[in-house]
């Protein structure tokens, strides 16, 4: 395998030519636009300066005349007139002239959105039934960004979609190196009706899905570890701030050319307190990454659903193929049970009370008593599916894919896992290979991955599902023992 630090595939000559051509075409247009923007900006600055000057002058005047016309008005009304708050540095910092070193909390300010005309579109990154993402350049600074258009249904009489609003608010609240940074929200020029809303994100060259689809060789073990560590530390940040992502999958993980991974697409995310509220929508997480408790209809769920998705992503990083490609909810559950075994009352107490579990026909419980001596485990099957994975790796993956949510490690527990300490050590981000960026050049094709669930979609009723046949393969204690050859290696 290629272990060279440098680019595995340098950008091709065609890429370069295309880039040059695009650049030329845009130049004239850009020049005109930049001029317009510059003028508008100068105009605005001038007015602001005038306002500030006027404010200062008026204040001086008031101080001179000592006028005190607001005796019954709010006390010390003029206290805030001088722009002294501007002096306060980024938060929280100890104020310098204060001996007691009080913390100053800076929450920023509020004001109108800017116009999308401050950006030049470079190329579409993704255009599909729902989403639209483009690469763009900020005219004033020349910085390249990603513009994501908020999905808005003008016929929806409930106004701006709560998912989009949450996505913006959560991204605004987040600040972590493994979470994509929201720069601002901009709107179309016609502000009398707000229809075109774009969120401006830092641009990353790739998403993991596209890389995996195109790479001729899988990631090296050291690279997988680096990617997982970054994913996991982003998730640990989210979960410690009571944010569930609820749509983790490879197409929502971005990677830049410096080997840095960032979690994106917060369209499904929300704040969920701990303990979780009794009723959350089950229509979350793209099918192939959806945890079994969601498929079984749990309305109360927590950060464990994200950890299940991490398990699916782990598997996908190893093979370049999504791990559990169910055709529908029932098929997804079948594939999960094929890989992880059937749930039992010992491995997952209470699963039978989940709404959809009633329609499952599981093999009789006699088999579970025969295996009660050892906790049922997915280790053996995973070991078989990933022969190159070390024992520590198998143990981590198996624990992420525990059917019982409470057996999955938390993100911060996962960061401490043995797997990341063993050789080969996680590769330094800077040593990561670079990949040809599709986002930088061409329109991407629509993928065959199922989409994240849509609002208003019906929660699927599983109907009657017969898993007793699966019992023949996985349900009996004998089978499990037979396959259990690798068990000695699994749990640490």
């Amino acid at each position: 395998m290629t272990g060279k630090g440098k680019s595995r595939w340098a950008d091709s000559a065609e890429d370069a030519a295309l880039e040059a051509q695009l650049k030329k075409e845009k130049e004239e247009k850009k020049r005109l636009k930049a001029e317009k923007a510059r003028k508008a900006e100068a105009e605005k600055k001038k007015r602001e300066a005038e306002a500030a000057a006027a404010a200062q002058r008026q204040q001086q005047q008031q101080q001179q005349t000592g006028d005190d016309d607001d005796a019954n008005g709010p006390p010390a009304k003029r206290r805030r007139l001088s722009p002294d708050r501007d002096a306060a540095a980024a938060a929280p910092t100890a104020s310098s002239n204060d001996s007691s070193k009080l913390l100053r909390f800076e929450g920023g300010r509020f004001g109108k959105c800017r116009s999308v005309e401050n950006y030049d579109k470079l190329n579409d990154i993704e255009e599909g039934a729902y989403g639209w993402v483009a690469r763009a350049r900020e005219i004033e600074t020349g910085k390249v960004v990603a513009l994501k258009r908020l999905k808005i249904d003008p016929k929806d009489r409930s106004g701006l979609p709560v998912t989009g609003l949450r996505e913006i608010q959560i991204l605004k609240d987040c600040s972590h190196r493994n979470i994509v940074k929201l720069k601002e929200v901009v709107v179309g020029d016609d502000t009398s009706k707000i229809e075109n809303i774009f969120i401006v994100l830092e641009f990353l060259e790739h998403d993991l899905k596209s890389i995996l689809e195109d790479m001729p060789e899988p990631f090296l073990a050291s690279e997988v570890k680096t990617l997982l560590l970054q994913l996991c530390s982003g998730i640990a940040y989210l979960h410690s701030h009571y944010i569930l992502h609820r749509d983790l999958k490879t197409s929502n993980l971005l990677l830049n050319n410096r080997g840095q991974l960032k979690i994106a697409d917060f369209g499904m995310a929300r704040y969920v307190p701990d303990p979780p509220p009794p009723k959350l929508t089950q229509l979350v997480v793209t099918l192939w990454y959806r945890a079994p408790e969601l498929l079984l209809g749990a309305a109360r769920y927590g950060p464990e659903i994200d950890m299940w998705s991490v398990g699916c992503i782990f598997g996908e990083l190893l093979t370049r193929e999504p791990l559990l490609q169910g055709k529908n909810e029932v098929d997804e559950l079948t594939k999960i049970f094929e890989l992880c075994g059937l749930p039992t009352d010992e491995s997952w107490p209470g699963f039978r009370r989940l709404p959809n579990a009633r329609s499952l026909r599981l093999p009789s419980s006699s088999s579970s008593s025969s295996s009660s001596s050892k906790p049922p485990s997915t280790g053996g099957l995973i070991r078989a599916k990933f022969p190159l994975l070390t024992a520590a790796g198998v143990s981590l993956l198996a624990s992420l894919l525990s059917l019982n949510p409470s057996r999955r490690p938390t993100a911060s527990e996962m960061l401490e896992h043995e797997y990341f300490r063993q050789d080969p050590k996680p590769k330094q981000e800077a040593m990561f290979p670079t990949f040809p960026s599709k986002a930088g050049q061409e329109k991407r094709r629509r993928r065959e991955t199922p989409n994240a669930p849509q609002r208003g979609q019906k929660v699927q009723d599983l109907g009657q599902v017969d898993f007793s046949s699966l019992g023949g393969i996985f349900g009996s204690g004998r089978e499990r023992e037979e396959r259990g050859g690798g068990f000695s290696l699994r749990m640490v």
Binding site: D86, R109, F110, V162
Partner: protein, 389 residues
């Protein structure tokens, strides 16, 4: 009519609740803010000095009219939250959002009640307690109707009628908004349209930042940490939260000039003072990162809201009486009232042809804010320069 009967209680309930609210709904309070990471969520974006200055000095609206609009609209918002059975944590966030919005866009560009409704709608939508446009239409339709006691002179508490805090709690709000309250479909439709337009307008004006941190949970946490030798904490906390709630109504916009930690400390300080609690000897507010100057400002500010409120009410009633519309329409002040008042004073305002109230259908073309602002600034500059020379 169930609603009409219960209506006579509404204002009293509102005032009562604001003054002695102890059941601050915990649903929104985050766990202890010990963790620095969590602490970063306990801050708000604040108004810039320029924003405060511009609102006071460049608006064509005289300051006292701005204040009257502010106060009555914030009261309306609270009353609506009550009828919608929203927790105070949700309604209070709507109050703050509304206040921010008015520092970015002129007060007269939309009907006040519409902006109030949109703030509530938007915050509720993002909370665990969403309310439908129809719920909002029913509640606002009612509050703005002549049968509502909201801001009607007859319901005004006289100054000596201020509620002693020992009074029993007010009757609970009506458990249901009866569907039989008459709301013609065309009125609902036009309200709905305006609601959505105002929602986007608010979001646009605030760059889609809907984050509001309230000081209430912090105040509770701080109280746990403090020791008032001679007084029980619950006595103080019963007085602390009302200070935080009435401060929402104050045109001083304390929530826009101070962070939640400072608001919480000032409210505790006032509450402790009121009951004669012995406060710690040291400068205990510094433990919560509040300096003496800011504390002083907030303490006085919070104490003056009551007197302000009474004056505001009188102003609003006088204005309604002036337009002669008070009897035919609800007690809530509208753009039309303000326009009438301006006409009487000989001040002209170039826009606003809306009828006001929920039945309003007038055009909502927002004036070209920037151009208007630039023009006023020029005038002001000339004025200042003229008087200086």
């Amino acid at each position: 009519m169930q609603l009409a009967m219960s209506s006579s209680f509404i204002l009293r309930q509102l005032l009562n609740l604001l003054q002695k609210q102890t059941l601050y709904v915990q649903s929104n309070s985050r766990p202890s803010p010990a963790d620095k990471a969590i602490m970063s969520h306990m801050v708000n974006p604040l108004a810039t000095p320029e924003q405060l200055y511009q609102r006071r000095s460049f608006s064509a609206l005289p300051t006292e009219l701005q204040d009257a609009i502010f106060f009555s609209t914030q009261c309306l918002t609270q009353a609506a939250g009550l009828l919608l059975q929203l927790p105070q944590s949700v309604t209070a966030q709507a109050n703050v959002l509304l206040a921010r919005y008015w520092l970015v866009e002129p007060m007269m560009s939309h009907e006040f009640s519409d902006i109030s409704a949109a703030s509530v709608y938007l915050i509720a939508k993002l909370s665990p307690y969403p309310r439908s446009p129809r719920d909002l239409a029913l509640v606002y339709n009612y509050l703005l109707s002549p049968s509502s006691t909201f801001f009607h002179p007859s319901s005004a508490p006289t100054s000596d009628d201020s509620q002693p805090p020992q009074q029993p709690p007010p009757p609970s709000p009506p458990t249901n908004i009866p569907n039989d309250y008459y709301l013609p479909e065309h009125v609902y439709n036009s309200f709905h349209t305006r609601l959505l337009r105002c929602e986007s307008r608010i979001l646009y004006a605030l760059s889609f930042d809907t984050h509001v941190s309230l000081p209430h949970p912090l105040a509770i946490t701080y109280l746990q940490a403090l020791d008032f030798l001679n007084t029980s904490k619950s006595t103080i906390s019963k007085r602390t939260l009302p200070y935080l709630n009435t401060a929402l109504l104050s045109p001083q916009m304390l929530y826009l000039t101070s962070q939640p930690n400072a608001l919480a400390v000032a409210a505790i300080y006032n509450a402790a003072k009121d009951v004669g609690a012995k406060m710690p000897e040291c400068e205990w507010w510094e433990v919560f990162d509040v300096d003496r100057e800011e504390l002083g400002f907030l303490v006085v500010g919070m104490r003056s809201v009551d007197a302000w409120g009474r004056k505001m009410r009188e102003d609003v009633e006088r204005m309604k009486a002036g337009t002669g519309s008070g009897s035919k329409r609800g007690g809530m002040i509208t753009r039309r009232d303000i326009e009438g008042e301006l006409r009487r004073r000989g001040i002209s305002l170039g826009n606003g042809d809306d009828d006001g109230g929920i039945t309003g259908v007038g055009s909502e073309e927002p004036v070209d804010m920037e151009a208007e602002m630039a023009r006023r600034m020029d005038e002001k500059m000339a004025e200042i320069e003229g008087s200086a020379s």
